[in-house]
């Protein structure tokens, strides 16, 4: 099995360009650029992946919501599509893109960026309580002694016998 390097390095904007130029000079290809918006920290994590042969290295840039990220499309032509996608769908502020498609890469009816656009899920309806069985009018009225007995609360044994019957009715 060919060995794979499995690492994510954190970097900053200043170091990013020197990393990109170094990878380009060593004929690494740009594998992908992934944008992730971390809601809890209100920041973007942009991960650049470079690959050569079967080896891959990932460099992560962490930026605040309104911060600008420099484009690497002047070095890697392939970055144009990734950066336009990140700008359009996530609202990441990428500057100096070699080809700025001006939010026309994705022809979608929905407004972009998609951050926090999802409405909250509607609350699930509560399951209704099982209806009490209707009194049968054809049955004669119970005698007084039986009425006194039925007025008393049911014993646990009687309650457990009644519960499956009512559950079946609810189903």
């Amino acid at each position: 099995m060919t060995e794979i390097q499995d690492t994510i390095f954190e970097t900053d904007k200043v170091e990013l360009m020197s990393i990109v130029l170094e990878k380009k000079s060593k004929h690494w290809r740009l594998c992908q650029i992934c944008c992730c918006f971390v809601n809890s920290d209100d920041r973007y994590e942009v991960t650049y992946s470079f690959a050569t042969g079967f080896r891959i290295e990932n460099y992560r840039l962490i930026v605040a919501k309104e911060e600008e990220v420099p484009s690497i499309s002047s070095v890697y032509d392939a970055a144009v599509f990734y950066e336009n996608e990140m700008h359009e769908l996530f609202g990441l502020n990428v500057t100096d893109m070699q080809t700025n498609l001006k939010d026309k890469l994705y022809r979608i009816g929905e407004e972009t960026p998609f951050l926090n656009h999802l409405p909250p899920l509607p609350p699930k309806p509560k399951t209704p309580a099982p209806a009490a069985p209707a009194a049968d009018e054809a049955k004669p009225a119970a005698p007084a002694a039986d009425a006194a007995k039925s007025a008393a609360p049911a014993s646990p044994a009687q309650q457990s016998e009644a519960a499956p019957a009512s559950a079946d009715k609810a189903n």
Binding site: M1, G53, L105
Partner: protein, 359 residues
């Protein structure tokens, strides 16, 4: 005096299996530049991680595309398994390998049919898809589905292929191999086909790396990279060579895909001989926490899956970088300087899967 104009291509075009739009800047009949627009079938599948839990997302990722369905589900499950740190049973890995190679077979046969249709060779198109039907029948017998299989789950696979089924499949593939060879010989030797493919859409090795091309698009430019050699699933125990082209053109891309057809049949034979007898899944307890990425070799090239989990049942992020998205810059590169009449064919040589690209 040369006249420059901008001609829209797509999203609806007879040669396109899925909608993509290109603005072609033409000078008379030569293409100067191509600017793509996508999004006609964007479904926001990546954002569904906010609504579907991590087990359900396996079924969502399968529906990214109907051609690459199995490997999308597999790549996602592999990334989540990596976060959990579980080892999938060996039999499940072999089954995943067999289904992956069957996916590659049906995808390449589909592409060959579309290619033949693109230059008007309809009988060859029907022969390719007739052979593809036999692969889809095998999928239906083994998984219950022809297009969407739903056999991948986090921790393994949900269905088994017993020994008699595997033996029958190998026999079926042995019978098909002769028919596939007769059909592919037409692509490789027919004068009319060669005149439409040879020296059309040349992409050098350096350009392929600079554009970030992957898969047969890159291997046709003599760059020998195939993610199966990293040894995921059961590929670490399978012997195979990386198939590369020699001429950097559309004919080389056709050669590479045809070579991979026979290679896939050989890989399935090896996998059926070596498949061990173990369980199919490992139990998965709790929720994932952490991040992981996985790279697979889909029929169209390297696919990159990134999953980020926060310890709850919903994931933070799921990113799929599909091979067609990576091949878009290479497409724009090969279109520069080509004839307007060759545009549909050149778009087909990247084997576009726009469903995958847009998700």
């Amino acid at each position: 005096m040369a006249k420059t104009s901008v001609v829209p291509f797509g999203p609806q075009h007879p040669v396109l299996p899925e909608p993509v739009h290109l603005d072609l800047v033409l000078e008379d009949e030569k293409v100067l530049a191509a600017v793509p627009s996508i999004g006609y079938i964007h479904r926001g599948l990546e954002s569904l991680v906010e609504k579907k839990d991590f087990n359900e997302m396996a079924y969502v990722t399968e529906r990214i595309c109907g051609i690459c369905s199995f490997m999308h589900g597999m790549g996602y499950c592999m990334a989540v398994e990596k976060i959990f740190g579980v080892e999938v049973p060996r039999r499940a890995e072999y089954l995943r390998t067999i289904w992956s190679e069957m996916s590659r077979l049906h995808s390449h046969l589909l592409w060959l049919g579309l290619l033949a249709d693109a230059f008007g060779f309809e009988s060859l198109f029907y022969h390719a898809w007739r052979l593809r039907e036999k692969i889809l029948d095998m999928f239906e017998i083994s998984t219950g589905g022809r297009v969407i299989f739903s056999v991948n789950t986090v921790g393994g696979v949900l269905k088994d292929m017993p020994a008699d089924m595997l033996t029958a499949f190998v026999k079926n593939l042995d019978d098909m191999e002769k028919e596939i060879r007769e059909m592919t010989d037409v692509f490789l030797q027919d004068y009319t086909v060669k005149s439409r493919l040879v020296d059309i859409g040349i992409l050098t090795g350096d350009d392929a790396i600079n554009c970030g091309a992957v898969g047969p698009m890159m291997r046709a430019s003599t760059v020998p990279v195939d993610m199966r050699k990293t040894g995921y699933a059961a590929y670490d125990e399978i012997d195979f060579d990386i198939i590369t082209g020699r001429s950097f053109d559309s004919y080389a891309r056709c050669e590479v895909r045809i070579g991979e057809l026979f290679q896939s049949i050989g890989i399935i034979r090896q996998a059926v001989k070596k498949i061990p007898d173990t369980e199919l899944t490992v139990p998965i307890k709790g929720f994932p926490k952490g991040e992981a990425y996985v790279r697979l070799e889909q029929p169209r090239g390297e696919a990159f899956y990134y999953v980020r989990a926060n310890g709850t049942k919903f994931l933070d992020r799921m990113r799929v970088r599909t091979p067609t998205f990576a091949n878009l810059p290479a497409l724009c590169k090969v279109l520069q300087g080509c004839d307007y009449g060759d545009v549909p064919l050149l778009i087909l040589t990247i084997d576009p899967c726009i469903s995958c690209t847009e998700r």
